[in-house]
Symmetry: C2
Subunit: 578 residues, 2 copies
């Protein structure tokens, strides 16, 4: 921001906070008031615009009309009234594509392979009232620019204004994968909850929903040819995602610039499949899941604690796919083949976390197969994963896996496999050393469920395995390139914040996620430095994140306050070293 | 429960969980199915019933019709269908008062002095279909019995049934004060949010709302003759409780068996009063609140850490009433006189926590007064508190204070003063040693805000001062009589769970409170032992608390799930030592 000292002298106001989130890579602002004309209009100067671009323009125009967000200062902007009264009026924002740009729909662009999506845009808002312009070389870039434009405006007695014109933005994300993971298996979320979340994600330019749709506890997705999985494994007949629901969700996401990476976690985290196919699952009923914890290891979920200093709870129910079995491989290949067809995304995850190999040591059926085929367990696992990934690749998909598939098993994976690092942020370097592409999903920074207590009975003194709560301030300090060599930096695709839902449902979805998850949205869009070159830091970010929370609230998201309103209205006054 | 082995053999079902919360002091259940007749009716056999009793009956009848809660078992009760089809039909519940009982309104009874309210009741539901009966010696007792009756019923394809008839309950609370504290000053809550909370409180027989209505950050309550406090100290003109709002809230609470203890915290936590009366407040602008923390103690909030092993954050803004000043005393007495008139409760709290005495050492005005009057600071404080309490007592009120007024200052308090113990559960014994009555509000068990991160900028590694999160399991283990002598047990009035709202708003009110706060509701209603004499324990309680959460959800409270639904439907299967 330039000249802001002059501005504040002029307006007699406290320092203005431009509520942009994520903050653009390059940003220049002025000191003039500018307001929207009563007939303000967003013009789409794109011949035959895709329907989802026209819809995005309509949404944006609507947000600008209905946000009615007052400035977060004590007088809520009243001191700007004279300046606003005399301010030039902005009559239009004109959107155009640079010549030669392909005119794809937003959804087509957003579901391209990671690294090939174009999201950059240029936004100019003159102080004079002359038309503002938004240009990009893709419809997706125009969508990102609209999200920025929406965040420029405040309400004062019905006038929609800024006091920082002219505004000039040249923007492009630092990383393509800016994600949020939702687990819909521990507890169920309605389609409307997912859509509401997608809306909020798009406002902060997030690009990726990681949909952890199934797990040991329930199988809520209907898959053609495999309908018995949901019929017997969903929590109820009303807690199911039909193929139409899936189509609805991926379309809704795509139109908002969000790609949906579905995860069918395997071969662990699959106990619920035993409801439809008891023969496919080892250890499902063999013994109570918790016996292992009481000193008699049998056939149970075994957490991979080797690289963690802390124990975390085993999780019921037990049961894992008998991956060595040809029947199970056929089933899995067929299932993934159908799943791949349901999702337009280029990426599909086969999960692969927390595999308890002891289960198979005691599983007579698996041991018989291994003996018959002359394979050891890891060879069988590698064959299973290769078959699974083979069917994905045959459909043009890139497979994604949790880090254990790379770090803890001898599985042959193709070089383009995307690896999600979750156990610890420290593990990224080991994945990079194996030359795989990385999505950061570290539990020590990005797990939104940590710190809410232990849900497993029955120890009253127990806390969550990943205590403490991961604050937005902590997430915001994440360095995507930590411990990587210069040569390895190109392996980083981005990262995501994650909500495991053992203790979440639609009841607390919004408050546990927002505005916290916006922190990584900025980490992975803006990168290491603020416009102007200073490093990102939480003290600078806080007033802007307040803005995000309050704007989200105006749009129907139950985002929580980060501080007492007293602090939100007095930027800097509640910092420890202010 | 008796004969349940026979029952399960008969119905071919898993063990039934009677979803009563708090569990009655005495309870006998049978093994028969019983369903409500289509024309089931609650008859009020009370001549000239008070309006709030009739309203309670209507609410109860409505809940029974609309709860539609299925049993929390895998088949959701389908295995009970034959038994339910052939079950006798219950046509009526008859409510009556024991002869000679005074016919007060529920509200009148609920706002009587603590220890004199009658809440006991007797409920009988025969297995035959003959009328169920609910008797009590007060309208408040009838209300408590209705809450129990509502919890007996489940839905199966439109039938409302139990499989545990006959049911016989004789019940009375262990402690009269079963509370919840809401802070409406750090962030604002609408009247509708408070009413929704009162509803949920009444369902688990909580008796006391502790309304921490004002604090340093805002003064949202309009008080006749002192309108400038809210006018200048509320966050906005729409974030105000008018006298009509207060009347609405206390009436709504009273009708639901809940007394409202308002707290006007003083002389600390009063910075916002400086907006209307700058002369009344010391240290308000003298220095940034956080200077103290950086090693230059001036005139700031000083936490009382002497009895804690941990530091907790100072909180902005600074500023405390100049209690030594006659003008401030007059103001305070006048204010409390009006506040006392607004609340029908017998108890009013004057707070008194976290007073920073250093502030006054550096306050020239206070020092001048002390010199003039020949008092020391503690003498002046005692005079101030006595004046404040004197005006309350003149209106028939019992004063309540935070523990520091007893443990850290030389304040003369009347023997009937109620003392809230918050810093640590260990402090109860010291308060009891001074022979004051106790309300347990310990941060180490009952603070609902702990573990959600530090809201003060700007240390990204900081966590909440009272980490970790206080789980329901932890709260549930609270022993109200720990470290007290036999003779001191009569000093315990009960306890409360508390929500300080630095990081809360209506957005997360329900999920941060429910069902967690129900844990203390049972601790203080049921006491140390389950019906039958076994000690209360979380493993037994969990399935019943699931029931509370799901029934609350059916009634519009955004209560969170305590576990994956897989666990909720399989009682015991997710315990570590099951």
């Amino acid at each position: 921001m330039k000249h802001h000292v002059a501005l504040f002298a002029l307006l007699g106001s406290v320092p203005a906070t431009l509520g942009l989130w994520p903050i653009p890579r390059s940003l220049e602002t002025g000191t003039s008031a500018l307001k929207l004309a009563a007939n303000f209009n967003i013009e789409l100067d794109v011949p035959n615009p895709p329907a989802d671009l026209s819809a995005a323009v309509s949404r944006s125009a609507n947000y600008i009309k209905t946000d009615n967000l007052e400035r977060l200062v004590v007088d809520r902007g009243a001191s700007n009234s004279t300046a606003v009264a005399h301010a030039p009026q902005l009559k239009s924002l004109v959107l155009s594509l640079e010549s030669g740009s392909p005119v794809r729909s937003i959804m087509e662009e957003a579901t391209l392979e990671l690294g090939t999506r174009r999201e950059e845009y240029k936004l100019d808002v003159p102080a004079s009232g002359a038309s503002a312009t938004l240009t990009a070389n893709s419809t997706l870039g125009l969508l990102r620019g609209l999200s920025t434009f929406e965040q420029l405006w405040y309400d004062l007695s019905g006038e929609t204004y800024t006091i920082q014109a002219p505004i000039s933005v040249v923007d492009t994300p630092a990383y393509p994968f800016r994600g949020f993971m939702l687990d819909t298996a521990r507890n169920y979320f309605a389609v409307s909850d997912i859509k509401r979340t997608l809306d909020a994600m798009s406002w902060v330019k997030m690009s990726q929903l990681h949909w952890h749709v199934v797990d040991s506890q329930s199988f809520p997705i209907q898959i053609t040819g495999f309908m018995d999985l949901a019929e017997k494994g969903a929590y109820s007949s009303s807690m199911i995602y039909t193929p139409e629901d899936v189509q609805d969700i991926v379309q809704y996401a795509g139109e908002r610039g969000i790609d949906v990476m579905v995860e069918i976690d395997m071969p662990g985290h699959t106990a619920i499949i035993s409801e439809a196919h008891p023969d496919f699952v080892a250890c499902a009923e063999a013994s109570p899941w918790a016996t292992f914890a009481s000193g008699e290891p049998q056939c149970l979920m075994k957490p991979l604690i080797s690289r963690l200093d802390t124990l975390w709870p085993l999780e019921p129910p037990a049961g894992q796919l008998r991956f060595a079995s040809a029947a199970v491989q056929n089933f899995t290949v067929g299932l993934l083949n159908e799943v791949a067809k349901m999702f337009p995304s280029n990426i599909v995850s086969t999960g692969g976390d927390e595999l308890n190999t002891e289960c198979y040591t005691e599983d007579a059926e698996t041991q018989a197969i291994l003996q018959e085929t002359g394979q050891d367990l890891e060879q069988a696992l590698s064959g299973f994963i290769q078959a699974a990934h083979g069917t994905l690749k045959a459909q043009g998909k890139t497979p994604a896996v949790w880090e254990e598939m790379v770090l803890d098993h001898n599985v042959t994976l193709s070089n383009d496999t995307v690896v999600l690092v979750w156990i610890s942020s420290m593990d990224a370097a080991a994945v990079a050393a194996k030359n795989f592409r990385i999505v950061h999903a570290p539990s020590d920074y990005f797990y939104l469920d940590c710190g809410a207590g232990e849900w497993i009975g029955s120890d009253p003194e127990a806390n969550s395995w990943c205590d403490p709560f991961k604050t937005w301030q902590k997430s915001y300090t994440f360095d995507p390139l930590a411990n990587l060599t210069e040569a390895q930096t190109s392996l980083v695709l981005g990262g995501e914040q994650l909500l495991w839902t053992e203790q979440s449902s639609p009841a607390n979805l919004d408050p546990i996620v927002w505005p916290r998850a916006a922190s990584s949205a900025e980490v992975f869009w803006t990168g290491a430095t603020l416009p102007g070159g200073k490093p990102r830091n939480g003290t600078e970010a806080l007033p802007r994140l307040h803005d995000v929370a309050f704007r989200m609230a105006q749009r129907g998201i139950r985002a929580i306050p980060l501080q007492p309103l007293w602090c939100a209205l007095r930027p800097g006054k509640c910092n420890l070293n202010s």
